[in-house]
């Protein structure tokens, strides 16, 4: 096939692989993270090429954007903690026992074998074979939405999606649990320009997020992408210290975390009965129910992702200050 895009595909694929190697092999962790972010964006681009714009959006926003922010925050924290001890902050911050070279080679050989096996299996597998598309097409009219991915996420396989939100909930509970009483690395002073930028972009991000959510029922977008974009608002607020979490906000935060999951699950149960199964939305209300669920889930996702970025649970300032002193 002489698809002119094939060259582009090959270039992109090589770039993705090269970036993956580079991410793991550069010495400086910061560079590593930056390379990873580029890697993620290029992967998203590749997925656009494979006609998966929803996935690309999600990967760019969550898999790369939020993850990158989390990684940078962690790196900052580690350097702060190590730097406080008067060590050279620029060096690798984790005390590492060197892995013996034979082990590395053995692992590499193992992975090589696995790769070979997987590649063989992959090329032997049926290509572009039939999947769910016929089933999805048949079921679309009853789904309540017109965008197939959204229909899958919030109707056909809404159980998976509920559990996915549960994973997020578990993550935020676990993070709060893990970071009990952990002191925070002071955020860098970002200056006036940053604040101006934040002020200017915040409303725009909110609009974009809402638009994505709204659009999700008929076009690429939806709760997760929108949640990630809205989470960016939280990130900006947190970074610019426009919003500082207080202990008093804990209760509200808890409610916000569980809002999406709770309502999603409750609706799933409430629609059951009268011959309908759990999760079986009555066709006439399907659209509004899905929109309601998506809206609330978006809020939860946004708040949860922002909370994951912030890390520790807001605690009383007195304790915090005491910890800083010691």
């Amino acid at each position: 096939m002489n698809d002119p895009f094939l060259l582009f595909d090959l270039l992109l694929a090589s770039a993705v692989i090269a970036l993956a190697v580079a991410t793991l092999s550069v010495r400086d962790l910061f560079a590593s993270i930056v390379l990873f972010v580029i890697f993620g964006l290029l992967s998203a681009l590749a997925w656009v090429r494979l006609s998966a714009p929803d996935v690309a959006l999600a990967e760019a926003a969550i898999g790369t954007g939020v993850t990158g922010a989390l990684l940078l925050k962690t790196l900052h924290h580690m350097r702060f903690v190590t730097g406080r001890l008067g060590q050279d902050a620029a060096e690798s911050v984790t005390p590492a026992q060197p892995v013996p070279a034979p082990v590395i080679w053995a692992n590499a050989a193992l992975c090589g074998l696995i790769t070979l096996g997987l590649a063989m299996a992959f090329f032997a597998a049926p290509q572009a074979g039939p999947g769910f598309e016929a089933l999805v097409t048949d079921a679309m009219p009853e789904s309540g939405v017109t965008h197939p991915v959204t229909a899958v996420l919030l109707n056909f396989r809404s159980y998976d999606t509920l559990m996915e939100v549960v994973v997020l909930l578990a993550a935020v509970i676990a993070v709060w649990q893990i970071e009990r009483g952990l002191s925070e690395a002071p955020a860098p002073a970002l200056g006036e320009i940053w604040h101006g930028f934040a002020r200017l972009t915040l409303p725009a991000i909110v609009v974009v997020g809402t638009y994505l959510l709204w659009k999700g029922s008929e076009a690429p977008g939806g709760a997760f992408q929108s949640g990630a974009v809205l989470a960016a608002v939280g990130l900006l607020l947190l970074l610019s210290r426009n919003y500082v979490p207080r202990p008093a906000h804990r209760g509200l935060a808890r409610w916000a975390f569980v809002l999406g999951t709770g309502v999603f699950a409750a609706i799933a149960l409430l629609v059951a009965g009268g011959g309908r199964e759990v999760f079986e939305y009555p066709a006439e209300h399907a659209y509004s129910l899905i929109l309601l669920i998506e809206g609330l889930v978006t809020i939860s996702i946004a708040v949860t992702l922002a909370a994951l970025f912030h890390g520790r649970e807001p605690v009383a300032l007195a304790i915090e200050e005491k910890r800083h002193d010691t």
């Binding site: 595909d9 990684l71 590499a108 790769t115 572009a128 893990i178």
Partner: protein
């Protein structure tokens, strides 16, 4: 040659690179990155599987699955990173 084969191979390669990293990386943070690479590799395979020869629309179900996978992975990453931060602090306090 079609894009799905190219990107399928890419996915497998990325997965393998991540796997090596996850097994060999010395740095805690880098191991998280390696695992993240694995997840992108797996995402590639599913997206490639969903791809259909152009006039046809791709299968939406794997797309939904990958989105789920991405969200799950960010959750796991967040927890792993929180653990790293905590552990690092504990070790630093210990050295004091």
């Amino acid at each position: 040659m079609t894009p799905d084969l190219i990107y399928g191979a890419t996915g497998i390669a990325v997965f393998a690179i991540g796997l090596i990293g996850a097994l060999c990386a010395q740095d805690r943070l880098r191991r998280v990155l390696a695992l993240k690479l694995c997840s992108v590799g797996a995402g590639f395979i599913l997206v490639v599987g969903a791809w259909r020869i152009p006039p046809a629309d791709p299968d939406p179900v794997p797309h939904a699955l990958v989105i789920t996978g991405i969200v799950v992975m960010v959750s796991a990453t967040a927890v792993a990173l929180a653990l790293i931060r905590r552990l690092h602090t504990l070790e630093a306090e210990d050295d004091d």
